[in-house]
Protein backbone atom coordinates (compact mmCIF):
# COMPACT_ATOMS: atom_id res chain seq x y z
CA UNK A 1 0.00 0.00 0.00
CA UNK A 2 1.10 3.55 -0.54
CA UNK A 3 0.57 6.25 2.03
CA UNK A 4 0.86 10.02 1.82
CA UNK A 5 2.82 11.48 4.70
CA UNK A 6 3.17 15.02 5.93
CA UNK A 7 5.74 15.99 8.57
CA UNK A 8 5.46 19.35 10.26
CA UNK A 9 8.64 20.59 11.95
CA UNK A 10 8.53 23.39 14.51
CA UNK A 11 11.07 24.97 16.82
CA UNK A 12 10.63 23.71 20.36
CA UNK A 13 9.11 26.02 22.94
CA UNK A 14 11.86 28.14 24.44
CA UNK A 15 13.97 28.20 21.26
CA UNK A 16 13.98 31.72 19.81
CA UNK A 17 12.03 31.92 16.55
CA UNK A 18 13.24 35.08 14.80
CA UNK A 19 11.22 34.26 11.68
CA UNK A 20 7.93 33.99 13.58
CA UNK A 21 8.76 37.13 15.56
CA UNK A 22 9.56 39.09 12.40
CA UNK A 23 6.30 38.01 10.76
CA UNK A 24 4.36 38.94 13.88
CA UNK A 25 5.92 42.40 14.00
CA UNK A 26 4.91 43.02 10.38
CA UNK A 27 1.28 41.98 10.84
CA UNK A 28 -0.21 45.22 12.25
CA UNK A 29 0.85 47.00 9.06
CA UNK A 30 -1.32 44.51 7.15
CA UNK A 31 -4.29 45.03 9.46
CA UNK A 32 -3.81 41.81 11.45
CA UNK A 33 -3.72 43.39 14.91
CA UNK A 34 -5.62 40.40 16.25
CA UNK A 35 -2.98 37.73 15.48
CA UNK A 36 -0.65 36.52 18.25
CA UNK A 37 1.99 33.85 18.93
CA UNK A 38 3.21 33.37 15.35
CA UNK A 39 5.63 30.44 15.07
CA UNK A 40 7.33 29.62 11.79
CA UNK A 41 8.03 26.03 10.82
CA UNK A 42 8.24 23.92 7.72
CA UNK A 43 6.45 20.94 6.34
CA UNK A 44 7.61 18.02 4.21
CA UNK A 45 5.38 15.80 2.09
CA UNK A 46 6.32 12.41 0.75
CA UNK A 47 4.90 9.01 -0.13
CA UNK A 48 5.84 5.81 1.64
CA UNK A 49 5.17 2.15 0.83
CA UNK A 50 4.10 0.11 3.84
CA UNK A 51 1.89 -2.84 4.80
CA UNK A 52 -0.45 -0.74 6.89
CA UNK A 53 -0.97 2.72 8.31
CA UNK A 54 0.98 2.02 11.51
CA UNK A 55 3.94 0.86 9.47
CA UNK A 56 3.79 3.94 7.29
CA UNK A 57 3.60 6.16 10.38
CA UNK A 58 6.61 4.45 11.94
CA UNK A 59 8.73 4.99 8.81
CA UNK A 60 7.63 8.62 8.53
CA UNK A 61 8.43 9.20 12.20
CA UNK A 62 11.83 7.56 11.77
CA UNK A 63 12.60 9.87 8.84
CA UNK A 64 11.39 12.86 10.85
CA UNK A 65 13.61 11.99 13.80
CA UNK A 66 16.72 11.10 11.81
CA UNK A 67 16.71 13.89 9.26
CA UNK A 68 13.79 16.29 8.99
CA UNK A 69 13.86 17.54 12.58
CA UNK A 70 16.80 18.14 14.92
CA UNK A 71 15.54 17.01 18.34
CA UNK A 72 17.89 19.47 20.07
CA UNK A 73 15.85 22.39 18.77
CA UNK A 74 12.77 21.06 16.96
CA UNK A 75 9.59 19.04 17.47
CA UNK A 76 7.88 17.17 14.66
CA UNK A 77 4.36 16.00 14.02
CA UNK A 78 3.56 13.27 11.51
CA UNK A 79 0.31 12.64 9.62
CA UNK A 80 -0.23 9.73 7.22
CA UNK A 81 -3.18 8.62 5.16
CA UNK A 82 -3.70 5.91 2.59
CA UNK A 83 -3.60 7.08 -0.98
CA UNK A 84 -6.16 6.13 -3.60
CA UNK A 85 -5.04 3.04 -5.56
CA UNK A 86 -3.13 3.82 -8.77
CA UNK A 87 -5.46 4.18 -11.73
CA UNK A 88 -8.41 4.99 -9.50
CA UNK A 89 -10.69 7.84 -10.43
CA UNK A 90 -10.42 11.02 -8.46
Amino acid sequence: MRYAARVEVRLRPGIADPEGATIERALPALGFDDVREVRAGRSFRFEVDADDEDGARRRAEELAHRLLANPVIEDSEVEVHQMAPAGGSR
Binding site: I15, A16, P18, E19, T22, L67, L68, N70, V72, I73
Partner: protein
Protein backbone atom coordinates in the same frame (compact mmCIF):
# COMPACT_ATOMS: atom_id res chain seq x y z
CA UNK B 1 57.74 15.15 7.41
CA UNK B 2 55.05 17.57 8.42
CA UNK B 3 51.60 16.83 9.82
CA UNK B 4 49.03 15.89 7.21
CA UNK B 5 45.65 17.62 7.41
CA UNK B 6 42.62 16.47 5.42
CA UNK B 7 40.14 19.19 4.45
CA UNK B 8 36.76 17.60 3.73
CA UNK B 9 34.80 18.85 0.72
CA UNK B 10 31.04 18.35 0.44
CA UNK B 11 29.02 19.51 -2.56
CA UNK B 12 28.52 23.18 -1.64
CA UNK B 13 31.61 23.61 0.52
CA UNK B 14 33.35 26.83 -0.52
CA UNK B 15 36.17 27.57 1.94
CA UNK B 16 38.30 24.52 1.23
CA UNK B 17 41.08 26.20 -0.76
CA UNK B 18 41.50 29.05 1.74
CA UNK B 19 41.62 26.44 4.50
CA UNK B 20 44.29 24.36 2.75
CA UNK B 21 46.38 27.50 2.10
CA UNK B 22 46.06 28.71 5.70
CA UNK B 23 47.05 25.33 7.15
CA UNK B 24 50.04 25.14 4.80
CA UNK B 25 51.03 28.59 6.02
CA UNK B 26 50.71 27.26 9.58
CA UNK B 27 53.19 24.51 8.76
CA UNK B 28 51.13 21.49 7.73
CA UNK B 29 50.73 19.54 4.52
CA UNK B 30 47.04 19.92 3.69
CA UNK B 31 44.94 18.30 0.99
CA UNK B 32 41.31 17.91 0.00
CA UNK B 33 39.15 14.87 0.82
CA UNK B 34 35.93 14.32 -1.16
CA UNK B 35 32.89 13.59 1.01
CA UNK B 36 32.38 10.09 -0.40
CA UNK B 37 35.89 9.03 0.61
CA UNK B 38 35.93 6.69 3.59
CA UNK B 39 39.69 6.12 3.77
CA UNK B 40 41.23 8.66 6.09
CA UNK B 41 44.25 6.65 7.27
CA UNK B 42 46.76 9.06 5.77
CA UNK B 43 45.67 12.04 7.85
CA UNK B 44 46.75 13.29 11.27
CA UNK B 45 43.88 15.77 11.59
CA UNK B 46 40.63 16.50 9.76
CA UNK B 47 38.94 19.81 9.05
CA UNK B 48 35.37 20.48 7.95
CA UNK B 49 35.59 23.90 6.28
CA UNK B 50 32.93 26.54 5.73
CA UNK B 51 30.33 26.77 3.00
CA UNK B 52 26.91 25.31 2.34
CA UNK B 53 27.31 21.53 2.44
CA UNK B 54 24.55 19.90 0.39
CA UNK B 55 23.01 23.34 -0.08
CA UNK B 56 22.22 23.63 3.65
CA UNK B 57 18.91 21.95 2.73
CA UNK B 58 16.66 20.85 5.60
CA UNK B 59 19.10 22.54 8.05
CA UNK B 60 22.79 23.43 7.75
CA UNK B 61 24.71 20.17 8.19
CA UNK B 62 21.62 17.96 8.27
CA UNK B 63 22.38 16.08 5.04
CA UNK B 64 26.17 16.34 5.30
CA UNK B 65 26.08 14.21 8.40
CA UNK B 66 24.98 11.27 6.22
CA UNK B 67 27.87 11.66 3.74
CA UNK B 68 30.06 8.52 3.66
CA UNK B 69 33.11 10.37 5.01
CA UNK B 70 31.30 11.12 8.27
CA UNK B 71 31.38 7.53 9.57
CA UNK B 72 35.15 7.40 9.09
CA UNK B 73 35.50 10.88 10.59
CA UNK B 74 33.50 9.81 13.67
CA UNK B 75 35.83 6.81 14.14
CA UNK B 76 38.86 9.07 13.73
CA UNK B 77 37.44 11.40 16.41
CA UNK B 78 36.57 8.50 18.73
CA UNK B 79 40.20 7.39 18.50
CA UNK B 80 41.33 10.81 19.73
CA UNK B 81 42.15 12.30 16.31
CA UNK B 82 42.00 16.09 16.08
CA UNK B 83 38.89 17.30 14.23
CA UNK B 84 38.01 20.93 13.53
CA UNK B 85 34.73 22.29 12.16
CA UNK B 86 34.75 25.87 10.92
CA UNK B 87 31.40 27.65 10.49
CA UNK B 88 29.36 25.24 8.32
CA UNK B 89 31.76 22.55 9.55
CA UNK B 90 30.73 23.38 13.16
CA UNK B 91 27.08 23.00 12.08
CA UNK B 92 27.91 19.59 10.54
CA UNK B 93 29.63 18.45 13.77
CA UNK B 94 26.59 19.36 15.92
CA UNK B 95 24.19 17.69 13.48
CA UNK B 96 26.38 14.57 13.54
CA UNK B 97 26.28 14.54 17.34
CA UNK B 98 30.08 14.93 17.62
CA UNK B 99 29.51 18.18 19.50
CA UNK B 100 26.45 19.00 21.63
CA UNK B 101 23.79 21.63 20.97
CA UNK B 102 22.77 23.26 17.70
CA UNK B 103 23.29 26.42 15.67
CA UNK B 104 20.10 28.31 14.89
CA UNK B 105 19.29 31.42 12.86
CA UNK B 106 20.92 34.59 14.13
CA UNK B 107 19.05 36.95 16.44
CA UNK B 108 16.93 39.30 14.36
CA UNK B 109 17.40 37.11 11.25
CA UNK B 110 20.56 39.12 10.59
CA UNK B 111 23.24 37.67 8.33
CA UNK B 112 26.55 38.72 9.86
CA UNK B 113 29.74 39.24 7.84
CA UNK B 114 32.27 41.25 9.81
CA UNK B 115 35.47 41.02 11.82
CA UNK B 116 34.62 39.79 15.32
CA UNK B 117 36.64 40.02 18.52
CA UNK B 118 36.75 36.66 20.24
CA UNK B 119 38.37 35.69 23.51
CA UNK B 120 40.10 32.38 24.18
CA UNK B 121 38.45 31.19 27.40
CA UNK B 122 40.01 27.75 27.69
CA UNK B 123 43.20 26.14 26.46
CA UNK B 124 41.79 22.60 26.84
CA UNK B 125 41.36 21.86 23.15
CA UNK B 126 43.45 21.07 20.10
CA UNK B 127 42.61 24.54 18.72
CA UNK B 128 43.50 26.59 21.79
CA UNK B 129 46.24 24.54 23.49
CA UNK B 130 49.04 26.73 24.88
CA UNK B 131 47.14 29.93 24.13
CA UNK B 132 46.78 32.01 27.29
CA UNK B 133 43.10 32.17 28.36
CA UNK B 134 41.92 35.75 28.11
CA UNK B 135 43.78 36.31 24.82
CA UNK B 136 41.63 38.32 22.41
CA UNK B 137 41.75 37.69 18.68
CA UNK B 138 40.14 39.42 15.71
CA UNK B 139 38.68 36.83 13.35
CA UNK B 140 35.91 37.28 10.74
CA UNK B 141 32.44 35.76 11.10
CA UNK B 142 30.26 35.11 8.05
CA UNK B 143 27.02 33.27 8.76
CA UNK B 144 23.24 33.27 9.03
CA UNK B 145 22.78 30.35 11.44
CA UNK B 146 25.47 30.87 14.06
CA UNK B 147 23.49 31.38 17.22
CA UNK B 148 24.54 28.55 19.50
CA UNK B 149 21.91 26.85 21.70
CA UNK B 150 21.98 23.89 24.06
CA UNK B 151 20.11 22.83 27.18
CA UNK B 152 21.08 24.31 30.56
CA UNK B 153 22.66 21.08 31.83
CA UNK B 154 24.91 20.75 28.79
CA UNK B 155 25.94 24.39 29.16
CA UNK B 156 26.77 23.88 32.85
CA UNK B 157 28.81 20.76 32.05
CA UNK B 158 30.73 22.51 29.31
CA UNK B 159 31.42 25.57 31.45
CA UNK B 160 32.63 23.44 34.37
CA UNK B 161 34.94 21.41 32.14
CA UNK B 162 36.42 24.37 30.24
CA UNK B 163 34.80 23.22 27.01
CA UNK B 164 33.66 26.68 25.92
CA UNK B 165 36.92 27.55 24.22
CA UNK B 166 36.00 30.80 22.45
CA UNK B 167 33.53 33.57 23.31
CA UNK B 168 32.53 36.71 21.43
CA UNK B 169 33.58 39.93 23.13
CA UNK B 170 30.49 41.52 21.53
CA UNK B 171 27.86 38.95 20.68
CA UNK B 172 27.00 39.33 16.95
CA UNK B 173 24.26 36.70 16.63
CA UNK B 174 22.46 36.03 19.92
CA UNK B 175 24.59 32.99 20.72
CA UNK B 176 23.96 31.47 24.17
CA UNK B 177 26.56 32.62 26.73
CA UNK B 178 28.38 34.47 23.90
CA UNK B 179 29.66 31.09 22.66
CA UNK B 180 31.80 31.23 19.51
CA UNK B 181 33.46 27.82 19.85
CA UNK B 182 33.22 24.63 21.92
CA UNK B 183 35.08 21.36 22.27
CA UNK B 184 34.36 17.71 23.06
CA UNK B 185 35.05 16.26 26.56
CA UNK B 186 38.48 15.07 25.38
CA UNK B 187 39.30 18.38 23.68
CA UNK B 188 40.07 16.77 20.31
CA UNK B 189 36.90 17.82 18.45
CA UNK B 190 36.39 21.57 18.13
CA UNK B 191 33.77 23.66 16.36
CA UNK B 192 33.76 27.42 15.94
CA UNK B 193 31.75 29.89 13.88
CA UNK B 194 34.56 32.42 13.17
CA UNK B 195 36.87 31.71 10.23
CA UNK B 196 40.51 31.51 11.41
CA UNK B 197 41.63 30.68 7.86
CA UNK B 198 40.43 34.15 6.80
CA UNK B 199 42.68 35.72 9.42
CA UNK B 200 45.93 34.06 8.47
CA UNK B 201 47.81 37.00 6.97
CA UNK B 202 48.04 40.69 7.90
CA UNK B 203 47.48 41.39 4.20
CA UNK B 204 43.82 40.35 4.58
CA UNK B 205 43.32 42.38 7.74
CA UNK B 206 44.36 40.04 10.53
CA UNK B 207 46.75 37.20 11.24
CA UNK B 208 45.04 36.42 14.55
CA UNK B 209 43.79 33.06 13.28
CA UNK B 210 47.31 31.70 12.91
CA UNK B 211 47.86 30.81 16.61
CA UNK B 212 44.70 28.68 16.46
CA UNK B 213 45.74 26.98 13.22
CA UNK B 214 49.25 26.38 14.58
CA UNK B 215 47.81 24.76 17.72
CA UNK B 216 45.82 22.44 15.47
CA UNK B 217 48.95 21.64 13.43
CA UNK B 218 50.86 20.89 16.64
CA UNK B 219 48.11 18.46 17.70
CA UNK B 220 48.25 16.84 14.26
CA UNK B 221 52.06 16.58 14.46
CA UNK B 222 51.71 14.74 17.79
CA UNK B 223 49.40 12.22 16.10
CA UNK B 224 51.88 11.96 13.23
CA UNK B 225 54.77 11.22 15.57
CA UNK B 226 52.79 8.61 17.56
Amino acid sequence: MSARIGVVVFPGTNCEHDTVLAFERAGAAASLVWHTDERLEGFDALVLPGGFAHGDYVRPGAIARFSPVMGALARFAAGGGPVLGICNGFQVLTEAGLLPGALVKNRGLRFVCAPARVRVDSDRSVLTARIEPGTELEIPVNHFSGSYVCDTRTLAEMRDAGRVVLRYVENPNGSLDDIAGITSPEGNVVGLMPHPERASDALVGSADGLPLLRAMVTAAAAVHAA
